[in-house]
């Protein structure tokens, strides 16, 4: 696609085919001879890993659909039947459920890599936007897939997420009704989610094809962020990057298999092994780990519509990222300030993930204790004053009862208890959310104008040769 084709048909049949359907030429030019920067590091192997993860999910998903029963009376039991009775069903089911997490782990690394090396900048804006579309489709697919086992988390997850749409003014409630196909999450919901969960991965596959197409027009970005200028900057994709991708993929599959065989339940929530019950909400509703940061952003905003807008905005901002970053330098390797902004951004995302898994009122920081003063009547009939303190309000209440038992009298006047200074999970989430948006909307536009970037090498080949020479000298 870049440069003239180097394909030479090897046989009469290939020549014949090449004149009618140049599919071998396409494969040769795209995946064998494709000139690829010679300095791609292991962060660049996640594209291949993600293609692999998508194929694994599609293949295991097709198998599961052969045994799964999409009805509210049969879904939970059919998953149990897959695990217990279907030959190798337990294996396929574990791969599919663990695979979802692995898919997201890989996509987050892939996205952060693109962010760090500036892979969204011209001429790769469409490539980046297609990636964000894939990510959105992945989230929708994962969410609907999580509903299918019809456990407690499935049911209440579906209820909570569809309720998000009711925040939209005027049309919100009709949209929710339309999504659910009823007045509540029910059989109709489960059936349509199953249908869409089967469909969306193939749409993902289609967008992946576009994504790779868009990649092959300008070619790969690279850790230096400089354009390819001469053939010395590149190596053919095969065998150099086929083998590197294969090695990285094998390491990834090792981690994948460790979860499948030794901790298949550890990435899910125990409550999803309780059959769905519309009468009882679980004590804590949390999404799967990969959606927790967005859940934290949702809860950080005290207003229903505002929370929903912030959550969708956190993904929406990725679409305009190519035009927010004003820096001429692609790779953050040469951007001393943006680099630290990025490290902080990764930390903020992880912290948001943590917040999403906690109860919003939990204190993350506290200075001082809860104090309560009270008056009581002593055995002699006099009025005395006492005080107790505790680290939590629940403990304070227990202390109060213990104190009553100790002094052998009831408290006659309870003064309002004094709460210590606290930062709660919800407040922490608000600060983190502020940085999340600030990074994209303020930091990147401003830094590009004021930052003094380091010296960017002229060509990949030069930089690589210099690095190698330095390494040799120091050795």
């Amino acid at each position: 696609m870049s440069g003239p084709s180097t394909y030479v048909p090897g046989s009469a049949f290939e020549r014949w085919l090449d004149q009618r359907l140049p599919i071998m030429r396409l494969a040769h030019d795209s995946f064998l001879a494709f000139p690829t920067p010679r300095n791609l590091n292991y962060w660049y192997t996640f594209g291949g890993i993600l293609s692999f993860a998508l194929v694994v999910q599609i293949v295991t998903g097709i198998v599961l659909a052969m045994h799964y029963v999409p009805s509210i009376s049969g879904a939970f039991a059919s998953v149990q039947r897959i695990e217990r009775d279907v030959p190798f069903g337990w294996l396929v089911q574990n791969i599919h459920s663990v695979g979802a997490s692995m898919f997201f782990l890989a996509v987050y690394i892939h996205m952060l890599r693109g962010l760090y090396y500036g892979s969204y900048k011209a001429p790769r804006e469409i490539l980046w936007i297609l990636g964000v579309v894939i990510y959105l489709l992945m989230m929708a697919t994962a969410f609907m897939g999580y509903v299918l086992p019809w456990g407690q988390m499935s049911f209440w997850g579906a209820t909570v997420i569809t309720n998000l749409f009711s925040a939209i003014p005027v049309v919100g409630d009709p949209i929710k009704l339309w999504l659910l196909g009823g007045f509540a999450t029910d059989n109709a919901t489960l059936n349509r989610f199953f249908s869409l969960h089967y469909l969306l991965p193939f749409m993902i596959f289609g967008v992946v094809v576009l994504h790779i197409w868009a990649l092959h027009v300008p070619g790969n970005n690279n850790p230096l962020g400089v354009d390819v200028k001469s053939p010395a900057d590149t190596v053919p994709f095969h065998p150099y990057y086929t083998v590197k991708d294969a090695f990285a993929m094998a390491v990834f599959v090792l981690l994948f298999a460790a979860f499948v065989f030794y901790a298949p339940d550890s990435l899910g929530h125990p409550d999803n092994l309780i059959p769905a019950n519309p009468l009882v909400t679980p004590a804590e509703i949390v999404p799967e780990w990969y959606l927790l940061p967005f859940y934290a952003i949702l809860r950080a905003i005290p207003d229903k519509l505002g929370g929903v807008l912030a959550m969708f905005g956190s993904i929406g901002v990725l679409f305009i990222l190519p035009w927010l970053d004003t820096s001429k330098v692609r790779s953050m390797r040469f951007r001393p300030l943006a680099r630290w902004g990025f490290v902080l951004f990764v930390g903020v995302c992880l912290a948001l993930g943590w917040c999403g898994g906690q109860l919003p009122d939990k204190a993350v920081y506290q200075s001082g204790r809860y104090v309560q003063t009270f008056e009581y009547r002593t055995a002699a009939g006099a009025i005395a004053t006492g005080a107790i303190s505790a680290r939590t309000s629940a403990e304070l209440e227990r202390r109060a009862h213990a104190e009553e038992a100790r002094i052998g009298a009831a408290m006659i006047t309870m003064h309002a208890s004094v709460a210590p200074f606290q930062i709660k999970v919800v407040q922490l989430s608000q600060m983190l959310t502020l940085y999340y948006f600030g990074f994209f909307l303020l930091l990147l536009p401003i830094l590009g104008l004021i930052e003094r970037p380091g010296r960017v090498p002229d060509t990949i080949a030069k930089a690589v040769l210099k690095d190698a020479a330095t390494a040799e000298r120091s050795a």
Partner: protein, 287 residues
């Protein structure tokens, strides 16, 4: 910078492994020394078999086990798996059942005498092919475990409004798994802390969320007389039934762990080979 990126990745993996859960108000169960807890651990079949006896004689009065069929008891790796083998002393063919049975010819659970006898103790309903009436017949190995109640409403009505949960995957559906089951069953008898209001008709148990559970203490001494002569203490019964429920919730666990060794070994070899191939191909190529 590269090190920084690796640290981020490590933190990412840690955040993966840490279960995302909020604080729970129940007391945390103390971890027990289960034979199956280790990465390559197996079930103690004698304990699983005794645990089945506890389930049958105590739990099954209220709790269903709907994902299991009687035949599962006689599956390979199940507590009543049967093998036909030659007795080394007498030379006669004999059927060995349960923990001591290994080697010989595996007997299909449908023909397993122990499983057939267990199934026959329970009645299941069936539609009579000629009259259309619902009739009761003794269960067969292929039948699902009989439920103590016809539906949830009946179960609630018989239990003061509380629903005795199905136990098929109970160890995977609760934080703490088998430790939780053991702790709950042996955790009665403590006085509630001062200030905790008593709930009429419920029983205090610090391991249960909220502290008040509808189930009365069940495993009183000598509630079950074990066929293998084990002492019928509450501790023993709780331990055994937790073992049984762990097996019932994940009967493929032993197979899974064994297969995992082979798969991880293979992947390790492939990874090494790919690494050497990678080094060979990139030899002399600056990058």
């Amino acid at each position: 910078m590269r090190r920084g990126m690796l640290l981020i990745l490590a933190a990412f993996c840690c955040s993966l492994a840490a279960p995302a859960l909020a604080a729970s108000e129940a007391r945390h169960p103390h971890p027990q020394a289960w034979s199956f807890a280790k990465p390559l651990g197996t079930f103690d079949q004698a304990s699983v078999q005794r645990g089945y006896q506890v389930y049958e004689e105590v739990c099954s009065a209220c709790h269903s086990l709907s994902a299991l069929s009687y035949r599962n008891l006689g599956d390979k790796g199940g507590p009543f798996a049967a093998y036909r083998a030659k007795n080394h002393e007498t030379g006669a063919e004999e059927v060995r059942i349960g923990p001591s049975a290994h080697g010989g010819k595996f007997i299909s659970p449908n023909d397993n005498p122990a499983v057939k006898a267990i199934a026959a103790k329970f009645d299941v309903s069936e539609i009579d092919g000629t009259t259309g009436d619902i009739v009761q017949r003794p269960a067969r190995p292929a039948d699902r475990f009989a439920s103590p109640f016809v539906n949830e409403a009946a179960a609630r009505a018989a239990n003061g409004g509380a629903y005795p949960p199905d136990l098929s995957v109970i160890t995977r559906a609760r934080h703490g798994g088998a430790d939780y089951i053991y702790a709950l069953l042996t955790g009665y008898g403590e006085a509630p802390p001062p200030g905790v209001e008593e709930v009429p008709g419920k029983h205090y148990n610090p391991y249960f969320r909220g502290g008040w559970v509808a189930m009365a203490p069940q495993l009183t001494p000598d509630r079950v007389s074990f066929t293998d002569g084990s002492p019928s203490t509450p501790d023993q019964m709780a331990r055994d039934v937790a073992s049984f429920l762990e097996w019932a919730g994940d009967p493929k666990a032993e197979l899974r762990k064994k297969m995992g060794v082979a798969v991880l070994g293979y992947l390790l070899a492939l990874t090494l080979l790919l690494f050497f191939a990678y080094r060979q191909i990139w030899r002399g190529e600056k990058h």
